[in-house]
């Protein structure tokens, strides 16, 4: 058993600190997160809070660790140091007697129901048709009956505009359709926060629009917080409440879309935006 012991004072959720109580308790809180792959440190200390229903976009050069941030929230990557809280509870750690230890599968399973994720490469299940791709988890994980699960899946597929493709298999769908199925599949689990990991990067340019339109619609519904890791600057500007610019494993700058895109403070962000704009956008 891999036991991680962390200074208790640091690690435990401390809601009583002096900071003025914000309108809502954050749904996600990264505290001092680092991540190393062998010698390479991709995250060098991330502190970030996401409020309930808040849409946060993360931009930055590739290799800046943005994807790793999202994957940690989905429990696909374990932090090397630091803690992540979801809805006020530690995600990767749990209390064992007096110590904080690495969370076991049971704890992760309980915590994961708060989080959903859409992947760059869709990761649909190729051996299931569209309906089953979406209905499988509600049935097996949430324990709904077949009828309930399919009803929920059909209504979600209707929302992403694919109600007529229920019996199709992923191999017969376009990239944009695949990604919309993947969004429906994640949404149907009703997470409190959803990670969108460069969801349009693998799409042909003409298919990007239909996927962004679906995300925009979900964003307008409100309740669910979003962590959008993206290269679509215009889109980030349009739907994000807050934009994070990360580079070299750190959050370099953050603010409203206007602050980030129109009045960048750091040299790093200015040159990033400049390169991005001259890059044929």
């Amino acid at each position: 058993m891999n036991t991680v012991i962390i200074d208790q004072q640091e690690a435990l959720p401390s809601r009583s600190e002096g900071e003025p109580s914000t309108k809502t308790q954050p749904i996600v809180r990264y505290k001092g997160i680092t991540k190393s792959f062998g010698e390479l440190q991709v995250l060098k200390g991330i502190d970030l809070e996401i409020q309930t229903g808040e849409k946060v976009a993360v931009i930055g050069p590739s290799g800046s660790g943005k994807t790793t941030m999202g994957r940690m929230l989905m429990t696909l990557e374990e932090p090397t140091e630091g803690t992540i809280e979801v809805d006020g509870e530690l995600l990767w750690h749990m209390q064992n007697k007096e110590k904080l230890v690495r969370a076991d599968e049971k704890h992760l399973h309980r915590m994961r129901c708060n989080v959903g994720m859409v992947f760059q490469h869709f990761n649909l299940f190729p051996h299931m048709n569209v309906l089953r791709n979406v209905a499988e988890a509600p049935r097996k994980v949430l324990g709904l009956s077949k009828e309930e699960a399919e009803e929920r899946a059909v209504s979600m597929l209707g929302k992403v505009g694919l109600a007529d493709k229920l019996k199709m298999y992923p191999a017969n769908l376009s990239g944009g359709q695949k990604q919309r199925v993947a969004i429906a599949r994640a949404l149907v689990m009703r997470p409190k926060v959803m990670v969108f990991d460069e969801v349009t990067s693998a799409l042909d340019p003409e298919l990007v629009g239909e996927v962004l339109a679906v995300i925009r619609e979900i964003a307008e519904e409100g309740e669910m917080a979003m962590l959008l890791i993206t290269h679509e600057m215009d889109f980030a500007k349009e739907i994000a409440d807050r934009v994070i610019f990360s580079a070299d494993g750190r959050i370099v700058e953050q603010g409203t879309p206007e602050e980030i895109f129109d009045h960048p403070k750091s040299e790093r962000l200015r040159s990033f935006l400049q390169r991005f704009r001259s890059g044929g956008n």
Binding site: M74, T75, L76, E105, H109, R112, C113, V115, G116, M117, F119, H121, N123, L124, F125, P126, H127, N129, E136, A137, K140, V141, M168, Y169, A171, N172, R185, A186, M189
Partner: protein, 217 residues
Amino acid sequence: MPNSWIDFLPTLLKGAEITVLVTIFSAILAIAAAFAAGLARLSKLWIIRTLAAVYVEVFRGTSLLVQLFWLYFALPFVGIELPKMLAAISAIGLNFGAYGSEIVRSAVLAVPKGQWEASVALNMKPWQRMFTVILPQATLRMLPPFGNQLVELIKSTSLVYFITMADLTYQAMVLRNNYIAWTTEILVLLLLMYFVIATLISVAVRLLERKLTVGRL
């Protein structure tokens, strides 16, 4: 004296029946052993991984004929007497299971990592990930190599001749002893009968593969 080669058929078919029976039961055992050992080698627990590795190396590293002799002739000395049929099925099944475990293991590893990740993101439990997402896809990858192994297995059943089971090969040898002048005909028939059984298996595996690929390009 036989009038034509047709007269050999009833005897050979009687042998074929044994061959088919041994094939079916040892194939079932082989597949079960292959899945058990293949998945065990991917276990998080080192003890399970080690046990599986020992099984695979022992049964792959020694000859099938010796294993057959061992089960049939040596085990009685330690008080375990297996009937011929059971000894044959165990030896062939465990031997091919050892090879098959590598097919299972590599097919599971060949399922893209994104499939595991998607099943984690949907909060499936580890066994649900394996049985609803990974294995159905891995099984499809296993079919062609499994088909190969199965054909190989049919042909290996002729080794049971050496523990004097009355299989196809055994019957052909008996016929040849009695009608030495017909050796060519008898051996041609023997070839053909193995070929027919092997072909039936190949076709069945291909049909299964087609059925499982439904909807996929």
